[in-house]
Amino acid sequence: MSINWYLMVSALVFCVGAAGVLTRRNPLVVLLCLELMLNAANIALIAFSRMWGNVDGQIFAIIVMVVAACEVCIGLGLVVAIYRRRLPIDVDELRELQG
């Protein structure tokens, strides 16, 4: 399969993830949609790595996976902290950063 096809899949998944971030209100699902966008970037990176016959893009993809794991860790910690404080778990209602 030519590299074009992989890039198309990547673009489609990225757009679906972006639409999800904008339309969903549950912060857990917003985090899942962010994962979708990061994974779309990963497909593109690995497709380019294959295109050049060189592993640099795969290293980049692994670093992106590390960043995604950190983001999940902090994001879920925030969701648990919000739940403990009995605040509404809704990104529309959480407008203030002040505790």
């Binding site: 993830g17 549950n26 590390v66 794991a69 983001e71 910690g77």
Partner: protein, 236 residues
């Protein structure tokens, strides 16, 4: 053969993505994301990225998604009814329009690219391309700084998650300090040295038996002010 596998994996990935966005229950969204990640691992294998595919399979679809499932089980189910109504119609239309515009733009960028190699299958690569040996060599020589920074980032994230999700006010709670089994094995009326020094009496057994007057909670310790106690009540 490659074409068939590609289309199966690609359709699986896109269907998983659509499921994440459209399913109402966050638990099903997580399961759809797991399906999406497994399809993606198949795509990575087709692109000769064996190590990344294995990492995706084990670390991402395994460990990270288990974390998600735990948090959704802890938080999600009770809140599901709250999200029945989606965001307002205007924002929804706007968001879908934005996503479509983005897709068209990305298509133009890909199809109009001046790179000739983008229309090929890529060069033939040696056996072992994308394997652990090659990746490890690159990660520990040319990309050593990125590797170290990523490890610091993971450390910071772990510490941050512990700080964010801990209980406020430490472990001064009565039930939480009483972790010793001896507290429950002691006969009624027998206290510990610490209780004698603090001037309070009573194992849990004793408190049930004793007169109601002296069964009250001990005074809060100096570092654990009234504000913290009130906050702990609110957290409950």
């Amino acid at each position: 053969m490659t074409e068939v596998l590609f289309f199966i994996a690609a359709i699986g990935a896109i269907a998983g993505a659509a499921g994440v966005v459209s399913l109402q229950n966050p638990f099903y969204s997580v399961l759809a994301l797991v399906f999406h990640l497994l399809s993606l691992a198949a795509l990575f294998l087709l692109l000769q990225a064996q190590f990344v595919a294995a990492a995706q399979f084990v670390v991402y679809a395994g460990a990270v998604m288990v974390l998600y499932v735990f948090v959704v089980a802890y938080v999600g189910a009770a809140e599901a009814a709250h999200f029945k109504s989606p965001v307002g119609g205007g924002q929804r239309t706007l968001a879908i329009g934005f996503a479509l515009a983005l897709f068209v733009e990305l298509c133009i960028a890909v199809l109009g690219s001046g790179l000739d190699a983008i229309g090929t299958d890529g060069p033939t690569v040696a056996f072992g391309f994308g394997g652990p040996e090659q990746l490890g060599r690159a990660l520990l020589t040319r990309f050593l700084v990125a590797f170290e920074v990523a490890s610091y980032l993971l450390l910071i994230a772990a510490v941050g998650a512990v700080v964010l999700a801990r209980r406020r006010g430490g472990i001064h709670d009565e039930e939480e300090t009483r972790v010793s089994a001896m507290a429950f094995l002691r006969p009624p009326g027998v206290g510990t040295m610490a209780e004698a020094v603090e001037g309070r009496t009573g194992t849990p057994v004793h408190r049930e038996l004793g007169p109601p007057g002296d069964a009250g909670a001990p005074a809060p310790t100096a570092g654990d002010g009234a504000g913290t106690a009130a906050e702990r009540e609110r957290v409950r």
